[in-house]
Amino acid sequence: MLIFSVFKTLTDQQVTVELKNDLSITGVLKSVDQFLNIRLDAIKVLDETRHPHMMAVKNCFIRGSVVRYVQLPAEHVDTQLLEDATRREAANQGKR
């Protein structure tokens, strides 16, 4: 839930999603759901000459399960807030 919330705060920011098939896609984050499936707009595939498969694709839905990394815009991530929220969530988990 915490990570889902973080992604929601990054809506409309530029991110780079690296998939488990080594494809990297940069685009504007349009939406995310509880599975961390991701919608990207204005996408650009890294090393497009090697991967022309998505030439005509401008926006896409990426299945959360195939994501390896997402590079986030550091200036839009409040790390102090993240750590506090993580401690809070960990404490709640313990109570359950």
Binding site: L19, K20, N21, D22, L23, S31, D33, F35, N37, R39, I43, R50, H51, P52, H53, M54, M55, A56, V57, K58, N59, C60, F61, I62, R63, S65, V66
Partner: protein, 95 residues
């Protein structure tokens, strides 16, 4: 999962776990991102020849097999002569 709603009735490109690429019209989907494609065509990429297109027809693809679904910009797509495109097939997902 509202994320696929905007793609219904649009031409989309499916990338599958094994690296295959399938283009077709998205006619439906569900919670688990299982999808139904009509008029689907597999695009087979190779370095030796241009892209080979294999008609598949009506397909139901299990959500677990899907890596990515992209909306095809028809203007760009029709402007590309696929027979001139030489590329390695996309790698399969590992683990």
């Amino acid at each position: 999962m509202s994320s696929l709603q905007g793609y219904v009735d649009r031409r989309v490109l499916l990338i599958l776990q094994d690296g295959r690429a399938i283009a077709g019209v998205l006619v439906g989907f569900d919670q688990k991102s299982n999808v139904v494609l009509s008029d689907s065509i597999e695009r087979v990429y190779s370095m030796e020849e241009g892209v080979e297109e294999i008609p598949l027809g009506l397909y139901l693809v299990k959500g677990d097999m899907i890596v990515l679904i992209g909306e095809i910009d028809d203007a760009v797509d029709t402007a590309v002569d696929l027979s001139t495109i030489h590329a390695e097939p996309l790698p399969a997902i590992r683990y």
